[in-house]
């Protein structure tokens, strides 16, 4: 019995090991300014020192005064910029924010929250499938589509 178990153990060890297990691999550092949350919502509320989205949805209608695009980032150690771009159903750039500078003092921030709004009462808003993108350091970091009815 012991012999049989020893043979099985050796086979398992050979198959699973076979020189492939190494304990010296250095772990990779976690990505910086990681987009943790990127949602559309009707309201943004305080959540401790940060903000939190409320009423997340991708469907909006004429009764909604605004469309909010909320972003939550984590692991922010360096200065960075945020920019939102809103596109109409025809694919035309409808609204673009300026580059918003974040963490200019370059201290480590565990989390950062921010949002931009599309005012539904302004001219040029019409029904269809809209797109909003977020750029971090001028590079695309997220995209959402939403419907205005």
């Amino acid at each position: 019995m012991i012999k049989k178990i020893a043979v099985i153990f050796c086979v398992v060890f050979f198959l699973s090991g076979g020189g492939c297990i190494s304990f010296r691999i250095e772990p990779r550092p976690e990505p910086e300014h990681l987009v943790e949350t990127f949602v559309l919502c009707k309201k943004v509320v305080p959540n401790g020192e940060l903000l939190a989205p409320e009423g997340t949805t991708t469907d909006f209608d004429g009764n909604d005064p605004q469309v909010l695009c909320f972003v939550g980032l984590k692991n922010v150690g360096q200065k960075m910029t945020l920019k939102w771009k809103w596109y109409s159903p025809a694919g035309i750039l409808f609204k673009e924010t300026v580059d918003v500078s974040v963490n200019t003092t370059e201290v480590y921030l565990e989390a950062v929250t921010a949002y931009d709004r599309l005012d539904m009462r302004q001219e040029g808003i019409y029904e269809g499938r809209w797109v909003v993108v977020i750029l971090v350091n001028e590079e695309l970091a997220g995209r959402r589509t939403f419907t205005i009815r």
Partner: protein, 618 residues
């Protein structure tokens, strides 16, 4: 198990479809998904670099975004912000967000004879629709909350969508664990290409050593053949009285002959001298007619084998109705046959006809049972009522018994009144049975009438509601075993805090038997209180206690408590206490980890005094 399964990849020589190099790559075993940062990869003839990558390997959806650059033969060909690609369909979409959303469709065509020579065909479409949001729920935090996830710098996806990683670190429940030079990350996937696979080697105290392997042979769109081998070695067990070992071989092969015809073969062999084989030819004559021809042989343990030849044919006749025919013949003179027909007339009238004939050898004798059955059903369904009439015939040709059973069913569809607060329904079923057995003749009939009345929840205050239901049933039959029963259930619900409810239930049931002048019967009552808590997804529980007012005693208490402990670990318990016997009937305790494609459960059951650990594939 993952260690064991992971080993087979190292022995495989699967072709690499995509190879990723990244500053950070994370793969979730639970969800079979990848998240990457600072990624570059090659897909067919293109070299692609991007800031971020998301991939759902199971659905073959790959999404790269941020600073997309596509180069071919060292020349920069495209730049953009998003790159969607599906290697299965050999199509990709590149999106650019500038003053206008630019969408470019790219078709990747592979020259099968010379894989290195890849042709690029591109087409710009001004009005191309933008792809919908994909993989929006795939985030690094989601991957990091997996039971098993791996991080590495290099990963490969094979043509069979297995994921291999190099320089891998395993994270177990978020904690960094052992490292591997090379590891098959996606072990356990069902879909794979042709070849042999050692699926499992395992040892249990009850089954001994178990080995499972399989061989898959596949010619795309033509042949699919899977042979599975299960072996159990029990000689290593101390107290086992059965055979020392058991072998099962199963084969399932399908072959597409042409657009209208395919054939399939199944074969099973078990070392305990049990085996069967089957062959099916499926032919689609046209859009309406499909026929299956089959031949099978089945050899059970200790009995003579049986060879069956048969066919099944379905005919969809549209307005003329649907007809189904089947017939099977066994070489020892056994026969099975069936015929059914269904049609709907005038939108509300439905006719069903069916008939079966069987002549089957009685086990252990040379005699046959021979039964002919038939049925016809005609039903009418209107907005107010439904009416159906059925006739069922069972003729035992061997035992010379004939049962004919007509029945009439009338029901009033549930209707609401008092502005929808009350709902009532009524059903009546009359059954007549006529049994002839040789010279004997017997007939019976019964009638069952059911009336029910129930209410929607009526809110007395914004947090307190009442609802009730009442039902009465009368059963009459020829032999005078007549019953009248009725019941009432009243329920009050108070939401005393958000997501927390206190419910009171009163239940009264009465059953009376009437025969000539005699009336006898019983009544039962039950009063229960329930506290229910489901304020969020993390807590969903209830506790109840019951009291019998008639006998003035507490009866039972139940509890079903479920809440999230930490990181998708769910604690669940079921408790039952019997006040009459004054004892705890049972407690079941579960600690469950939902991990995407598997569920890990630690279970303790008081009744069997058993503790078990279960890993259940989802």
């Amino acid at each position: 198990m993952i260690l064991l399964s992971g080993t087979s990849a190292l022995l495989s020589d699967d072709k690499i479809l995509i190879e990723f190099q990244a500053s950070y790559l994370a793969y979730s075993y639970d969800h079979n998904q990848i998240y990457g940062e600072g990624v570059s990869f090659r897909i067919f003839s293109f070299d692609v670099s991007c800031d971020h990558l998301k991939a759902d390997v199971r659905s073959r959806i790959f999404y790269a975004y941020g600073s997309i650059v596509l180069t071919k033969d060292g020349k920069k060909r495209f730049e953009g912000d998003e790159f969607f690609f599906n290697p299965e369909e050999r199509r990709a979409i590149l999106v650019d967000y500038s003053e206008k959303v630019g969408v470019v469709h790219i078709r990747l065509e592979e020259d099968i004879d010379e894989i290195e020579k890849l042709a690029l065909k591109e087409e710009k479409e001004e009005e191309s629709p933008l792809p919908s949001d994909v993989l929006e729920n795939l985030t690094l935090p989601k991957i990091q909350s997996s039971l098993f996830y791996f991080t590495c710098e290099r990963a490969q996806i094979t043509e069979d969508y297995e994921v291999l990683g190099e320089g891998v670190i395993l994270h177990l429940e978020g904690m960094e664990s052992v490292g591997f030079k090379k590891f098959k990350l996606s072990s356990g996937l069902k879909q794979r290409g042709s070849g042999f696979s050692l699926d499992k080697i395992w040892f249990t105290k009850s089954q001994g050593i178990i080995a499972r392997g399989s061989y898959l042979f596949r010619i795309p769109d033509r042949v699919n053949s899977l042979t599975q081998l299960n072996y159990e070695e029990r000689s290593v067990l101390k107290e086992y009285t059965g055979p020392d070992r058991q072998l099962d071989i199963l084969n399932s092969t399908s072959f597409v002959v042409d657009e209208y015809t395919n054939v399939s073969f199944t074969g099973n062999y078990n070392s305990s001298n049990l085996w069967n084989v089957g062959f099916v030819l499926n032919r689609r004559w046209n859009e309406r007619v499909i026929t299956n021809f089959d031949v099978s042989y089945n050899k059970p343990i200790n009995f003579k084998g049986e060879t069956w030849i048969g066919f099944t044919s379905t005919l969809s006749g549209g307005n003329l109705g649907d007809l189904s025919l089947s017939g099977r013949y066994e070489v020892q003179d056994q026969v099975l046959g069936s015929l059914s027909y269904a049609n709907t007339f005038l939108e509300r009238l439905t006719l069903l006809l069916n008939s079966t004939y069987s002549k089957i050898k009685i086990v252990g004798s040379e005699s046959y049972s021979e039964i002919l059955t038939g049925g016809v059903s005609l039903s009418y369904d209107s907005q107010i009522f439904n009416l159906s009439t059925d006739y069922y015939l069972n003729h035992d040709l061997f035992g010379s018994q004939l049962l004919s059973q007509p029945q009439l069913r009338l029901g009033i569809n549930p209707f609401s009144f008092y502005e929808g607060i009350l709902v009532a329904s009524f059903t009546n079923i009359f059954i007549y049975s006529d049994i002839k057995a040789g010279p004997d003749h017997q007939d019976t009939y019964s009638n069952n009438t059911i009336f029910s009345l129930s209410s929607q929840p009526m809110y007395m205050t914004p947090i307190f509601s009442l609802n009730m239901s009442f039902a009465v049933e009368q059963f009459l039959e020829k032999e005078d075993r007549n019953f009248t029963s009725g019941g009432f259930i009243g329920k009050g619900t108070l939401e005393f805090a958000k997501g927390f409810f206190l419910e009171g239930l009163y239940n009264f049931q009465s059953r009376r038997r009437t025969k000539n002048w005699l009336i006898e019967g019983t009544t039962s009552q039950d009063l229960s209180a329930v506290i229910r808590a489901n304020p969020s997804d993390k807590l969903n529980s209830w506790i109840s206690i019951s009291y019998d007012p008639k006998n003035r005693q507490w009866t039972q208490s139940f509890a079903d408590i479920s809440f999230e402990v930490i990181r998708k670990w769910q604690f669940h318990t079921l408790i039952n206490y019997d006040f009459i016997l004054n004892k705890l009937n049972n407690i079941d305790l579960f600690l469950v980890r939902e991990a995407g494609r598997v569920q890990l459960r630690f279970v303790w059951r008081s009744l069997s005094q058993q503790f078990s650990v279960e890993l259940i594939p989802r």
